[in-house]
Symmetry: C2
């Protein structure tokens, strides 16, 4: 990995940045092409039929008495002793049909609102890893400073849509850490952000902070939802008590729940891909049905995360051919149920190397082609989710920019078809000096963030830096160019007062579930 | 780039290789999914209409008097002074309709025959770079030894279909170098190979060598074609004299011509993508029409190579969003004309790094989704085609394996849907020890060639090798495992005698055009 060599100072990085063309303005993204399908109607029906059998004959375990009350009240078959819940397919259909096919998540800056569903794609930075890495400082436990730097860095990136790019700040107390997350999102960015939903109290705090930041109240938030959270199923077939408390708090408040079974084929689900997908479908539909019992019409997303394990080590594998097919089938199933779809940009690699890019490219292509609407961990995820990498943020950002660029419609105007320019250029000539070229060359092509296209000798003489080393320079340049977005001073003061009060309360009395 | 560090000896590499699961047997590849389209019927019609105007109003320059005779005889409008040839659209349609939609290329080992066209995909290794590189020896001019090693290496790779992976052996005389290429392909591999077509004599030598290797004659070769060659158009709108001599020799002998305009948008074609594609279409269709005048029904492939230049340096850019869209539109146009389609796996990167993989992944995904039938430079291409990299061969081979694996149909049998296995695993349990898992785990999942899925600490303690460094170990292991395929001794002797005779003739009299 060439420790110490080829590192670039922040100053030099900033100069490099100035030489680069701007990455363009933040913009929404749509996939105008038909979704790619591998299972087809017949295959989907077989997977769905198995999912129905799982829901009807086996059930899901809901480890939460209040959730069991709601489930029983709405017609699910609840066994209070085992906490197993069985769902008839008619009940699932009736409940899931309440969910919106698309919804908007509102940011404190309305220009950064995002639509979830349909042919919209929202790229959402990494969340959750306990470690952070970069080429200068190596891999290490995350800190509050890293969290802030990552949120700042992502705020400078135009190709991702939401605030984030997080690492666990392990230097902060766990019971108040959620306050630090929310505060970072609200003060360092003006985009949509996600709350962690382990227990009701954390969600309530996130809602209060969001309301302060947007100058509204709970009714305002319910009318214009802005918060999302990922609720993982503890596959196979178990939903955790505290996650259910968080889910209920979110859905009651009409905020978005991203329901994501963790169905690693061969570990938490069958070793066969279609079996893992049947289980994913059952778990997702069961929990989505539950959200619609909590609050009909509450925004919810069908999450797919099915991958496989490496059968030699038992370690999770990501960005594999199995992952690609699971992403495609998940998309087909989400569309069958008219639900927005969550996918991810994932890799098992320990370094920002050819393996990382290969696996991430597999994930991103499948995510985009399958019409993933909410592409999670879009930037920065490394090492199966154990590390957030600053360089990987930039490599992923570059790939996402390229993916977005090829989705742009082809210009087929007469001017673009360029018959006159072709007629004016003799056989064996060139178009460099043509008026048609000169009028367009500055904006004709997508500018990659990291590519070095110089001849080998020039590249070699200038240090023979790899793209990952250039990513190191680029994230420093981006961070150096960061500008904090405006937050109304009264809201900022109210936010600080709220965080201080809650911190004191939690220090004194702990955090209830 | 970590010079010197992390290199692995051939011995250690071979041991690593033994620990790896075999890559599987050579097999043909089909893409069972519908091709991806971005232009659509209306867009294609607009591009085609512009191409017809180019062919009818502007024409192509054919720098070869014999070619002009044939063109005039077949109804093209030939200007003898300028050598410009204009093609009416009806003539183009009539000629191109003679070309086969699919054809077979026959190898000297019939088990390695490949079909070109339809939904078949043939992965064809790199050809042409003057330089070669690997982590041990760096980048250097190619030699005969490198050529032999690359042909051997590719013969060990099951996921590519043809012989090759070449570099120019710059230590060999240019006038007899084609004999060394042919001899390497025939003796070191038993797969289909490609001839260079600069002038008629080189093609005639290749045909003679192929006939010897297959124990047949020219009629046998014409009945069962086995040779392909790439004919580039010297865009804009010029076809070189010697390439036309080579083309005519190939088409007369009923061998396959891969017609590929070199339409870099902003340099050899308009800066606008649809203009570049209109020019590509015109140039390809004009030359394909010519092949069908030379010999009706001769196998021919519609080649697409449209990319863009980096407008800051003028250097060619590859694997860009523009390249992706050009690949898609090229596929749509080839299908519109019922012709097999050639694409490529390309990158401008100077190193086997994140840029190289990003750009190659873009190229490969577009190539596969667009139903590229003949995916050229599939392995080993680096630095815009100036270098063949041993490590890039393995990285590309790994990506191609993954692409091929996700194309496999999903198993939707009851056993794969695994309801009983799910029923037998309690909520929160795991499937590691399930009988359903144990019966399948050895072959359940694709095994990547290079991925290291160990936990970070284990990977780090073992040298923290990047995937490119593991590729270095892997190509050495593959080379160490190379076994020369059987060639009938009398054919081998005849081959050596032929090559010796031709070498002496060319040394004495030179190589005619």
């Amino acid at each position: 990995m060439g420790a110490g060599r080829g590192r670039i100072s922040a100053e030099r990085g900033a100069r490099l940045h100035e030489r680069q063309v701007a990455q363009g303005a933040w913009s929404r993204c749509r996939n105008p092409y038909p979704p790619f399908a591998v299972a087809g109607e017949e295959g989907l029906a077989r997977i769905e039929a198995t999912a129905f059998r799982i829901l009807e004959e086996l059930g899901l375990e809901f480890q939460n008495d209040r959730a069991l009350d709601i489930l029983a009240l709405n017609g699910a078959e609840v066994d209070r002793d085992t906490r197993m819940v069985r769902f008839g397919r008619d009940l699932v259909r009736a409940m899931v049909s309440r969910a919106p096919a698309t919804f908007t998540l509102h940011a404190r800056n309305p220009a950064r609102d995002v639509e979830i569903g349909g042919d919209a794609i929202v790229f959402v930075p990494v969340a959750g890893p306990p470690n952070v890495s970069d080429l200068d400082r190596g891999r290490r436990p995350g800190t509050a400073r890293d969290l802030a730097d990552l949120v700042r860095l992502h705020h400078t990136l135009a190709m991702v849509h939401t605030a984030g790019g997080t690492v666990e700040p392990l230097d902060l107390p766990v019971e108040t850490r959620h306050l630090d997350f929310c505060r970072a999102f609200v003060t360092l960015s003006d985009r949509v952000w996600g709350a962690r939903a382990i227990g009701r109290a954390r969600v309530e705090d996130a809602l209060d902070i969001l309301a302060i930041a947007r100058g509204t109240d709970r009714d305002g938030l319910a009318a214009r939802p802005g918060l999302y959270t990922v609720i993982n199923v503890n596959s196979p077939r178990r939903v955790d008590r505290e996650l259910l408390n968080g889910l209920m708090a979110l859905s009651e408040a009409n905020q978005a729940v991203i329901v994501t079974p963790f169905t690693l084929a061969g570990a938490m689900s069958p070793v066969t891909l279609s079996g893992a997908l049947a289980q994913q479908t059952a778990e997702a539909l069961g929990v989505i049905a539950f959200t619609q019992m909590v609050r009909p019409g509450a925004p919810v997303v069908f999450g797919g995360f099915t991958s496989n394990v490496d059968m030699h080590s038992g370690a999770p594998a990501f960005g594999t051919p199995e992952y690609v097919r699971a992403v495609f089938v998940g998309g087909e199933m989400a569309r069958r149920w008219r639900l927005p779809y969550r996918t991810s940009n994932v890799t098992a690699s320990n370094a920002v190397d050819a393996q990382a890019v290969m696996e991430s490219a597999m994930s991103l292509w499948a995510s985009v082609l399958s019409h993933g609407n909410f592409i999670y961990h879009a930037t920065g995820w490394l090492e199966g989710g154990l590390t957030t990498s600053f360089e990987k943020v930039m490599v992923d950002a570059d790939m996402i920019s390229s993916m977005r660029a090829w989705l742009d419609p082809l210009d087929l105007s007469d001017e673009a078809l360029a018959f006159e320019a072709i007629a004016a250029t003799p056989p064996g000539g060139h178009f460099f000096g043509a008026l048609h070229t000169l009028a367009r060359f500055k904006t004709a092509f997508h500018r990659p963030l990291l590519a070095d296209m110089r001849p080998f000798d020039a590249w070699h003489a200038d240090g023979a830096r790899s793209a990952t080393e250039r990513a190191n320079a680029r994230w420093k340049a981006q961070l150096a160019a960061y500008e904090q977005p405006f937050l109304e001073p009264d809201r900022g003061e109210a936010l600080e007062a709220f965080v201080a009060r809650r911190r004191a309360e939690i220090d004194a009395r702990g955090l209830p579930g």
